[in-house]
Symmetry: C2
Subunit: 80 residues, 2 copies
């Protein structure tokens, strides 16, 4: 079973890395860029056949290790 | 107009960061984890109203700056 996780900064949290990318894109001549926000994307392979249980497990992984819930949101998709 | 970009390592390219995460999850007691692959996720705000043109521009950004196409794949979604 596969899980896809997106970890993104909460709105309002400063994203210097995103700002740097936006600046670099501007310097390359991409003038239409207004804002860039950088997040993380993770693909997990799990030995687990119950989608409900997989979601619960991955949710716990996010809370314990993968996301800093003070400043980040996460979103989990489970795929058979 | 918003663009969402996923940059992922090509299959077969080693992902030491993913391996470290998998190991850390195992150490926390998540024994169902078989593999972790880490990618990047970017959200761009663009001053561009033509979805076709936005896709072309973002594709060029990926080739020029955001992805290393030797070892990485990228996927672009455009959202009005």
């Amino acid at each position: 079973m596969k899980a896809r996780i997106h970890v993104t900064l909460k709105p309002g949290v400063l994203d210097p890395q995103g700002k740097t990318i936006a600046h670099a894109l501007g310097a390359l001549g991409f003038e239409s860029v207004e804002e860039v926000r950088q997040g993380k994307y993770l693909e997990l392979d799990l030995k687990e056949n119950d989608p409900e249980k997989a979601r619960e497990t991955v949710d716990e992984m996010c809370r314990k290790l993968l996301a800093n819930t003070v400043i980040e949101n996460y979103q989990v998709e489970i795929e058979a």
